[in-house]
Assembly symmetry: C2
DNA sequence: AGTATCTACTACGACCTGTAGTTCCGCTGA
DNA sequence: TCAGCGGAACTACAGGTCGTAGTAGATACT
């Protein structure tokens, strides 16, 4: 559970998360500032320290976790992209009363593409498959 | 279509939208700054001009629409709560690639209550009912 | 020892939001 | 007719976030 809200990410912050997520498999130990700078900072003409500051702030916001590796820190995403997105969805829907939420969902679906709806259905089906029936409590 | 992103609302802005939404039926012509101030500003000890500023900004962000009524402006929500929420949901999911989105949805559902899932299914069912089958394009 | 590398700390401008004062204008009643 | 009052427009300011980076100090490599 994140201590801080950590809602909206800035553009650079998002890019950093993107980088960390996309290399998480290849680098489970996390990445250093230098590596992140090399990957996404150089091409943008950003100073090394810029990435350092940003990663530092992100650690304070619990967006990333860091661990010492010699003198350097290794940064790892604190949540997967899916988790963060899901969190955001819940946040958006969270403060709505039942009927309003229902209406919002309807609107949402109404503006979704058939592909998106299929994805949603697939996810629902998969959920059902995984949780035989603990519903109808 | 909103010209501006108009993403996250501040607390006061949200409270104002809430007030406008909840009185939209009774006051389709919209509400004046005075009325909004009386409803939600006085109890918070806010100055009249504070609400004026906030409503003015919200109009510039296309969160609300305004129309002259004598010397005063009448403010109306530019979108329903459901629309705004739906927009926000799309925004959150929008930048995800298919498989990532799928995974995010799964996470989302996984952390949803059975009631929420039922609401979602109900919304899906209602959608199907309304659009017989323009899917499978 | 000298140089490269890394962190820690500080800074600053842009933008957003909450909060409000000031100024000016028109209407209304005494 | 003139003083208020209601209202709008404009200006302001502080606190927070984010992008951006410099500088200083510690450490490690050669």
């Amino acid at each position: 559970m994140p201590s801080t809200p950590r809602n909206r990410l800035g553009d650079l912050e998002r890019a950093v998360m993107e980088e960390l997520w996309s290399t998480a498999d290849a680098h489970p130990e996390g990445r250093t500032v230098r590596e992140v700078h090399d990957s996404i900072g150089v091409e943008r003409g950003l100073a090394y320290t810029t990435l350092m500051t940003v990663l530092d702030r992100m650690a304070k916001k619990d967006l990333v976790t860091r661990e010492r590796d010699g003198r350097a820190w290794r940064y790892t995403p604190a949540s997967t992209r899916a988790e963060l997105t899901s969190e955001s969805l819940h946040h958006t829907l969270g403060e709505l009363a039942g009927d309003t939420r229902r209406s919002a969902l309807l609107h949402f679906l109404d503006e979704s593409t058939p592909e998106e709806i299929d994805e949603l259905k697939a996810a629902l089906a998969e959920l059902e498959a995984r949780r035989p029936d603990q519903r109808r409590a």
